[in-house]
Subunit: 338 residues, 2 copies
Amino acid sequence: MRVSLKDVAERAGVSIKTVSNVVNNYQHVTPGMRARVQAAIDELGYRPNMTARHLRKGRTGILALAVPELGNPYFAELAGAVIDVAAEHDLTVLLDHTGGEREREVLVSQGFRAGVIDGLILSPLELEVEDLRGREDDVPLVLLGEREYDLPYDHIAIDNVAAARTAVRHLLGRGRTHIAYLGARTDSANRPAHLRLAGWRAELTEAGVPAPDSLIGPTGGWDRGDGAEAMARMLDAGVRPDAVFAYNDLVAIGAMRVLHERGLRVPWDVAVVGFDDIAEGRFGAVSLTTVSPDKRSIARLAVESLLRTLENRAEEPEGRELVAEFRLVERESTLGRR
Amino acid sequence: MRVSLKDVAERAGVSIKTVSNVVNNYQHVTPGMRARVQAAIDELGYRPNMTARHLRKGRTGILALAVPELGNPYFAELAGAVIDVAAEHDLTVLLDHTGGEREREVLVSQGFRAGVIDGLILSPLELEVEDLRGREDDVPLVLLGEREYDLPYDHIAIDNVAAARTAVRHLLGRGRTHIAYLGARTDSANRPAHLRLAGWRAELTEAGVPAPDSLIGPTGGWDRGDGAEAMARMLDAGVRPDAVFAYNDLVAIGAMRVLHERGLRVPWDVAVVGFDDIAEGRFGAVSLTTVSPDKRSIARLAVESLLRTLENRAEEPEGRELVAEFRLVERESTLGRR
DNA sequence: GCCGCTCCTTCCAACGTTGTACAGACTGAT
DNA sequence: ATCAGTCTGTACAACGTTGGAAGGAGCGGC
């Protein structure tokens, strides 16, 4: 059986509360008493029962993070950052993945492990606004992604349109004029996908470069295989872009693989820009130029937003938009033409 | 304030316990009573307080998984599998990463979030046997990695020596005779690294092929950069292997990157085999042949081992070795010479 | 030597839940 | 009509902890 305060109290010949006071560094405890109790604690190997403490205090020190897919390195790296930041605040992280399915996202948002977690960081893919409207759960929530409508939840995001425009501008600056966008999917609610497409279109339009639908490559998902498929389909249709801007690094990597198979050289024949800056992009045969969101800062903003909400439980959450930085990392996949 | 059983009981005009019975689907409740209570539950939006339930039951339904690094896709993919398997058993997963530092591994093994977790799955890198000897914590523990000595904890692993031999045999079968091993590190306790090296040596020796130290490439860690560095160092030393067996896929990918830079073609000039079968290996310019441990089954064995320990709390844990399967996945990096 | 003050320790209750024991009501058989 | 037996719902205690209030010991001053 586990050692409890009661056992320590008996051993030290004091009351339970006194032991509790020692454990919690309560100030009015004489040094002698403290030493005696501490000795008993050490002898018995007492460790506080967190569950009981949680029940009493109403806080558990556990945050939940729900991402679409841990197999996606972007989310794995982000999860790592969240865990680190949480640890700085003496919090631990419960992890779940939703597979990017709307149903599971709703489930998670409605009360994942209710009563166990102090707050939830949700990275939605297919979640719709109305799914959150009637949210009953009183667990503080922050969303990763750009703010929509008037939901009273903080959102953490980078400026996707600006980031996409930066990427496309970089390609234009390299003299590319047939710039494809890979990763569109009309039947998905995925906001970033839409925003990045919008950025692609805006930048091209502003530069007076045509942005025909033939240069938009729809994908079924956003993994390597989806990128490969989309790239192949586009080439098979006779479209020959001289640059590709992909929804994310995985799609870009899939596309590069197909370009390689078809004998098109990156960057000479086709330049490629990805999005996310996953470690994988740095070590391919051709390293990948990419938009690098500041993951560390996203993690920090998310955790600290939750912490703030927890402090001011009284006032309504305000639904701020917290913006993280991004930068373009130039690598081999967009080197100048030879 | 949160709705509790008491509130529901008052609303429905029954006792707290009756509400509890309804919530827990206790059988002796009349349909009428059940409906009445359920109505009150719905009206008030009651949701059980897990913390209190945990305190009462002594179980939390939370497992902890501690891996060296979530940024390593192998561990991210494994974590995903553990989460899925845990979910099948109505368990959730608390995740931590240790950075592969011995100190943090010890800390985690000694009592990570004591009282909150029902069990711990630890994937150690540098942990030494003696670190676990005097373990006081009563949280059930399983270790990922091959069994050492007489520790009373279940171990989950694949047969690393056999797996390494399979990889090397594959290369020998392709006519390679200068097979390097990348990922040795003498100052580390990392067991798999030693076992894979042993397998490499054993297979070569048995085949009557020399296994000189010059073909052993030490690394500082086991990431892509470490593989690149080790490969470069070996080539700079004038050693020209015709095949490389790497500690893991990341090291292999780093090595391939350097081979590519040096104009050595994979697989024509140098064949490469990795270890882990991470998704990344399937989509490089040259897809990677690799030893594929059955991650799903590792996750299942680990979770179910903990569950079993939890059931038979009475009897001592037995310290079994649970072996998962592996298979060699052949891809482009070891195609026959042209 | 007594009073009052301060400082430390103890007692009690509560967090929300569930297991055990029990009380009451109803059923059917005698 | 009574009794045993079954079925339903209730009361109480306990899980391990902490906050608040009350109790007690020690000390100095008169």
